[in-house]
Symmetry: C2
Subunit: 211 residues, 2 copies
Amino acid sequence: MGEGSSRIELRADARHNRELILRAAREAFAARGLDVPMAAIARRAGLGVATLYRRFPTRESLVMEVFADQFAECFSVLDDALTDPDPWRGFRTAVEKVCAMQVADRGFTAAFLTAFPGAIDYERRRVEAERALAELTRRAKEAGRLRPDFEHADLVLMLLANNAVVAEAGEAAPVASQRLVAYFLHSFRAEGAASLPPAPPLSLHHVHRIP
Amino acid sequence: MGEGSSRIELRADARHNRELILRAAREAFAARGLDVPMAAIARRAGLGVATLYRRFPTRESLVMEVFADQFAECFSVLDDALTDPDPWRGFRTAVEKVCAMQVADRGFTAAFLTAFPGAIDYERRRVEAERALAELTRRAKEAGRLRPDFEHADLVLMLLANNAVVAEAGEAAPVASQRLVAYFLHSFRAEGAASLPPAPPLSLHHVHRIP
DNA sequence: ACCTAAGCGGACGACGCCCTCCACTTATCC
DNA sequence: GGATAAGTGGAGGGCGTCGTCCGCTTAGGT
């Protein structure tokens, strides 16, 4: 560590091809989910498979890179939510925006839900995300708008549910997702809350499956 | 057509092996979902692959046969629900039971949600199921317990959601599913219902995907 | 007991995906 | 413009699944 070199020195054409790969992968993931063949991505980029593998030795490394900015967007959503003076509105819009991101990009969820064992940076971010979410829910509960027995794992339930609905609904995905999220938000409200069965021991970390 | 023979005349050993296959398939589907290799099912049954393929030329035919009784159970659940004097309790218990069936058997949902183009009998049953569900929701709405803007497609949303949660939660599946269903039922109640975005154009028929 | 057709199993070719290896091309520095 | 190391593409070996083919086994009738 600390050589300073790392990877800054890529030849110009290589750097260009790297961008082609990322764009192709982004498109492919968005359209067909995370399990598109590596060869299909390479073909879409107009490059050979070897080039793809040299730049991104594992599928995970490619996924991580592709979704880096989506992750960033996700964090900015959380930050926005935290600075909203109305805690419930913050909570609600954060949920809505993240679910809309799932609709916009089929692969995003899988990346979001997937903890790559080796990806240190991702791990750090995940912890940050969980902290932000915890704070968000704490404040919404304190304001008396989020039901007191709401738990962290409930968001995981919702993300899984939304992911499945988006995956299966095809054309109808945007409408279906909005309806689903409205239902969830309605049942997350403190108002009229009845007792619930216990929450499952799920976390963003716990749930991981890379296709 | 019209020989009357059809398949009644199977040799005794063949009939026995057929049962072995069905049992093995049931176990395999329950444990790992619908996409287990055919060879794995054959091995579990202690038979050769050819035997499996001769008896069930397509994966679908096997799935249909395996889940025939689960379908029957499903219909009896709907019938019970329809005879319940309390429409809301009928609706609620039907939902809870079907979702519990999804937990008990990973493959069941996929079979439930999958419309095999050629399976006439299945198609007829699906239509029956949809009619029963329609009646169930109509009565629950009439009793003022189910929200008036509830739609058929919302059940599909829930089944998809539950399926995904069951698939991903592993050990925690039973707890996770119960929690999820409680949330859904809460938001399906007429009491405290706020306006919703429109329902997606989904039906049990519309959603079909065989792994 | 014996005949015969139904039943059986495993080997096999096809396919699709993964990932690597190596001979060829090309950017970059002098 | 030439040296050289970085970069490239496609062929190919490995793997796992599918579904079929064919020679052997065995149930069940006589």
